[in-house]
């Protein structure tokens, strides 16, 4: 019951949090920014609309948003948000979940290529490349967590005797993991400095260029999928850095979401003070955390006792 409620709450709050990023950016720009509920309004507006489909597209184009949305939803079903046990969990679920994310990406890329537009093709190529690099970091993190906890599931990572804890034995090294995960989060969710959804030129975008031709409810599904994904990653990060452990579930949940909000604000700050990297620079940016995490793995081998 608790799990279901936590899941529903996560789904409900997912559109709210990205508005925090927009608010932060507006604050830095000296503007007032959109209302906090902006994303709910956008969603309702998009759901009310119809769509225009390009004559070039086939059924794969319509499949893209549905698969992408479903895979993001799966992540929330299996992830222990706010220290509540997730609805589903089993030993080995991280592998199938990250691969399901891969499935979502596969179909998003296909949907982009289906439009026969050069811009969307360019975005798709970059997405395929950068996410492969980010995947290396993710699996390095999984190896490390397996080494530390002996488990392969989100829930087990953060529960039980050997739960991962920033205060625990490996605290200093986990800082590097946090850095790595933060970069992965920026990459996978197409944020600055990897991707800039707010530029004026489609040539320089990645994710935003891929969904140029989607409209109406299809676009709403894509956006919601992206919000879920961002919530999943920042939830993952929050579980790592959250220093508070309360007895009461609700207090705990509030503290957890406070940390999540903090992460969203930090994303806003990063976006305000940095510019997007040149495209050839991006792989370097994504590779650095992989090597950091690899370093931690080597240390976990037993050199450090």
């Amino acid at each position: 019951m608790e799990s279901v409620l936590a899941f529903c709450f996560a789904v409900a709050i997912a559109p709210l949090l990205p508005a925090v990023i927009q608010k932060t950016k507006a604050y830095f720009a000296g503007k007032q920014g959109p209302p906090l509920l902006i994303n709910y309004y956008t969603m309702i507006k998009l759901f009310k609309k119809g769509s225009v489909y390009s004559t070039s597209t086939s059924f794969v184009f319509k499949l893209g948003p549905v698969v992408g949305f479903s895979t993001s939803l799966m992540m929330l079903l299996y992830f222990p948000m706010a220290e509540v046990a997730p609805i589903f969990s089993f030993h080995g679920d991280v592998l199938i979940l990250f691969y399901l994310m891969g499935l979502g990406r596969f179909f998003t890329i296909l949907a982009a290529l289906d439009t026969a537009s050069p811009f969307e093709g360019m975005g798709a190529a970059r997405e395929a490349f950068f996410s492969t690099l980010a995947e290396m970091t993710i699996f390095a993190i999984l190896i490390l967590f397996f080494k530390l906890t002996g488990s392969l599931s989100f829930y087990e990572f953060f529960s039980g005797d050997q739960a991962i804890d920033l205060m625990g034995e490996y605290s200093a090294l986990l800082i590097l993991v946090v850095v790595g995960l933060y970069v992965v989060m920026l990459t996978e969710n197409s944020r600055v400095p990897v991707d800039d959804p707010a530029t004026h030129l489609e040539l320089t975008m990645i994710h935003e260029a891929m969904i140029l031709d989607h409209s109406g409810p299809d676009l709403a599904l894509i956006e919601m999928g992206a919000w879920f994904k961002l919530l999943f990653y920042s939830g993952f990060l929050a579980r790592l850095i959250d220093p508070f452990h309360a007895e009461n579930v609700i207090v705990n949940g509030l503290l957890f979401y406070a940390v999540v909000t903090f992460i969203y604000i930090s994303i806003g700050v990063v976006e305000s003070i940095t510019a997007r990297y040149k495209m050839p620079q991006v792989p370097k940016f994504i590779l650095t955390p992989f090597i950091l995490v690899f370093f931690v793995i080597i240390l976990s081998m037993g050199v450090m006792q």
């Binding site: 605290s171 200093a172 090294l173 800082i175 590097l176 207090v251 940016f285 590779l287 950091l292 080597i298």
Partner: protein
């Protein structure tokens, strides 16, 4: 209700954190393409590295003079040398790109190799030497070899200086790792550092002269000085 674990603030963890930050700075310097950023990273690295002895377990009982020595070290490594380089970059209007001979991705993977190498060497030394902190040794070896790698793989004269500086940081860390008695070692270390400082000043003057006579600071131009 809310508890903050106190273990986090234990000395050992802090030194581990410093080591992690050093590794981070090494990797960032391998991957950075702007000279200015590189100088900033080196300043950061200098501060982190010179702070390390303060937080090592066997160095806990430090006397006043060694702390003074440490502070001077911090000042030179963290401010003086980077400040000097900062001024050099600003003043002689070097182009901002680093101009690598070996590309950034390859450099990063080389960093990975150095870490592996460091782990294996540390493991070896562990048997023969009374090293207490393996992480420190790995970091030191990684920093040292990455410094050498920077020397080898970057074209600009100023990056050569940075490579030397990084190497020096690595040597300093190795010294810290191996030293049982603190003061004796710092004296030697301090001498090395002063040498380096002088070296960097000379380098700055030479750089300035290369710049005024060639309008560039590419070390490849030094090849023109050789006898034919």
């Amino acid at each position: 209700m809310i508890e903050l674990s106190s273990a986090f603030f234990s000395i050992n963890h802090l030194s581990d954190a410093l080591m992690s930050l050093t590794i981070l700075s090494v990797l960032m310097s391998l991957g950075s393409n702007r000279l200015m950023a590189l100088v900033k990273i080196m300043a950061f690295q200098g501060i982190v590295v010179s702070l390390t002895p303060l937080f090592l377990e066997h160095h806990e009982s430090m006397n006043f003079s060694s702390i003074i020595l440490l502070l001077i070290m911090l000042f030179i490594k963290g401010m003086l040398i980077p400040g000097f380089m900062y001024a050099a970059v600003k003043k002689i209007k070097i182009r901002r790109e680093v101009e690598p001979i070996i590309g950034y991705h390859a450099s990063l993977f080389a960093g990975l190799l150095f870490i592996l190498l460091g782990a294996f060497i540390a493991n070896r030394l562990h048997i023969s030497l009374p090293v207490e902190n393996d992480l420190l040794l790995i970091t030191a070896i990684t920093t040292l070899s990455a410094g050498l790698f920077l020397l080898m793989s970057r074209r600009k004269a100023i990056t050569q200086v940075i490579g030397y500086l990084m190497m020096e940081n690595g040597i300093y860390l190795i010294g810290t790792a191996l030293a049982k008695e603190t003061h004796t070692m710092y004296v030697v270390e301090f001498g090395v550092l002063l040498d380096l400082l002088v070296g960097i000043m000379i380098m700055g003057i030479v750089l300035h002269n290369i710049n005024s006579s060639y309008n560039d600071v590419d070390t490849a131009l030094l090849g023109q000085l050789k006898d034919n």
